[in-house]
């Protein structure tokens, strides 16, 4: 005895042919093309593919979760509004990461203008000068390994957030997001050589800040 899977089978019998389900998922370009024509589901699919990546990337750039969610939504709003002007010369991921990067850098510059100092942060964010440590890490042995890992991750995140923005974006894209140099260069609209040198410089900064954890 076969199992009924739809109301049509109950009405017309199991002989009703099921619609073939496409095995190949639509590409990002195809989804954006569908979005252009007003297909809301296609845009929802795009959002589902990239919402976590973009949120995580912006969070690593800004070290502020609520702000990262807000900027991630703004990124998708801009993608939706600019769908008509989108050119598929590059990968869609490059396009959306570029928008996210620009929004994140813009937010960082706004913060710099406001000169907000976090009471919980222990680094200051300066562009070219070396970051100053407010609260050096506690050298006492910690009791719980999980707590140690958590504290270390928090220290790394804060250390990244103190990097100058021109070093921060390529480092996050390379070492956190795992993008290739070529794609990073496209996202940041610069040359691969510049990307490589900035990443190397950023690692040098981080090495000095995270000496106690290495």
């Amino acid at each position: 005895m076969s199992t009924l899977t739809s109301i049509d089978e109950l009405r017309y019998g199991t002989a009703v042919q099921r619609a073939p389900v496409s095995e190949q998922p639509l590409t990002d370009h195809a989804l954006l093309e569908a979005t252009r024509t007003g297909d809301g589901e296609a845009f929802a699919e795009l959002v589902g593919r990239y919402r976590n990546q973009i949120t995580s990337y912006i969070y690593r750039m800004t070290n502020d979760y609520d702000g990262a969610v807000d900027l991630a939504q703004e990124t998708f709003v801009r993608v939706y509004q600019a769908a008509e002007r989108y050119h598929s010369s590059y990968a869609f991921s490059t396009y959306i990461y570029r928008i996210a990067t620009n929004l994140a850098i813009s937010e960082l510059r706004k913060r710099k203008r406001r000169r907000l100092v976090s009471l919980t942060g222990f680094f200051t964010a300066t562009d070219d000068a070396e970051a100053r440590e407010f609260n050096p890490p506690d050298a006492r042995p910690l009791q719980d390994v999980e707590l140690v890992d958590s504290e270390r991750r928090a220290a790394v995140a804060r250390a990244i957030s103190t990097l100058p923005e021109k070093y921060r974006a390529p480092l996050v894209l390379r070492d956190v997001e795992g993008k290739s140099y070529e794609e990073i260069a496209r996202i940041l609209e610069t040359s691969e050589g510049t990307v490589k040198s900035r990443i190397s410089r950023a690692r040098g900064f981080l090495r000095d800040k995270l000496k106690t954890y290495l």
């Binding site: 959002v47 979760y65 998708f76 956190v176 190397s200 290495l214």
Partner: protein, 279 residues
């Protein structure tokens, strides 16, 4: 392979990739590069240990609301842009308003300046008249009054008394009272200046001569007033000094209603000491 080339390759190596054979050989022989490699791998592992952050569950819902808001805002913006004037039009309107305001201000300021120039005696013609007088401190000034546009005859100089007797009445029996007032500029007054006023009426013009006060006279005291009785016909006042400067002023007769107030022979107006009561 040298250390620089090794470190470059090590930096560019993706996570999980292995070194080339040459780089591996250099790594085996160079302790500094081994330390560098260990440190960089540790750092990359540390950075890679950061857990990915997920979007909140209501991300899609919030995004839909935001898109709806952006759409409505875009429609409002489109309506605004449809009815809003262009920047060129705004700048043109602003320029027009500024032009009109400038013209109004200029019109209002110009008479005030002229008035102040007359009040202070700083106008250009006054300077032209006064300048020769300043050159010759002792040069007397003549005031000639020619009734009914007659030419000035030979003056009969008569000395005037000092103030308040600066106001002198003519002796030829005319019935009109005339005040000729002259205001000087604020330039320093030369000492012992003599003012001569020639009043000519027909063939027998009255002459007013006023001796100026001493050098201690203030600027305000330099007004010369000539009080004349003339007929009710129009007449002309001609002011000239010995430097050749000549000014002519036409005066209309004054009539108060139907009454020829000034024409009555019996009515004489006695001016006060400060000149009040004289028109």
């Amino acid at each position: 392979m040298d250390c620089k080339a090794f470190r470059t390759e090590s930096e560019e190596l993706a996570t999980g990739e292995s070194l080339s054979r040459k780089a591996q050989a250099h790594l085996d022989s160079c302790a500094a590069c081994r330390a560098f490699q260990t440190e960089r791998l540790s750092l990359r592992q540390l950075i890679g240990s950061l857990e990915p952050v997920n979007a909140p569950p209501d991300f899609d819902f919030q995004l839909r609301a935001r898109l709806a808001t952006a759409k409505s805002a875009g429609n409002h913006a489109a309506h605004r842009s449809w009815f809003a004037p262009s920047p060129k039009a705004i700048s043109g309107a602003v320029a027009f308003v500024l032009l009109v305001m400038g013209a109004i201000v200029f019109k209002n300021v110009q008479p005030t300046q002229l008035g102040s120039q007359v009040a202070t005696g700083n106008s250009e013609p006054a300077k032209a008249v006064i300048a020769p007088q300043q050159r010759q401190a002792d040069a007397p000034e003549q005031v000639a009054v020619a009734a009914q546009a007659q030419s000035v005859a030979a003056p009969q100089n008569k000395p005037l008394a000092s103030r308040p007797s600066e106001v002198v009445r003519a002796k030829n029996g005319t019935e009109r009272i005339l005040q000729a007032k002259q205001t000087r500029s604020a330039s320093p007054a030369p000492s012992s200046r003599t003012l001569t006023a020639d009043l000519t009426f027909g063939s027998n013009p009255p002459v007013i001569t006023r001796e100026r006060p001493s050098a201690t006279t203030s600027m305000e005291e330099k007004d010369a007033t000539a009080l004349l009785r003339v007929s009710s016909q129009p007449f002309k006042v001609m002011l000239h000094d010995r430097q050749g400067a000549l000014r002519s002023v036409s005066l209309e007769p004054v009539v108060f209603g139907s009454q020829d107030f000034l024409g009555r022979a019996t009515q004489r107006h006695q001016p006060s000491a400060n000149g009040e009561g004289i028109w």
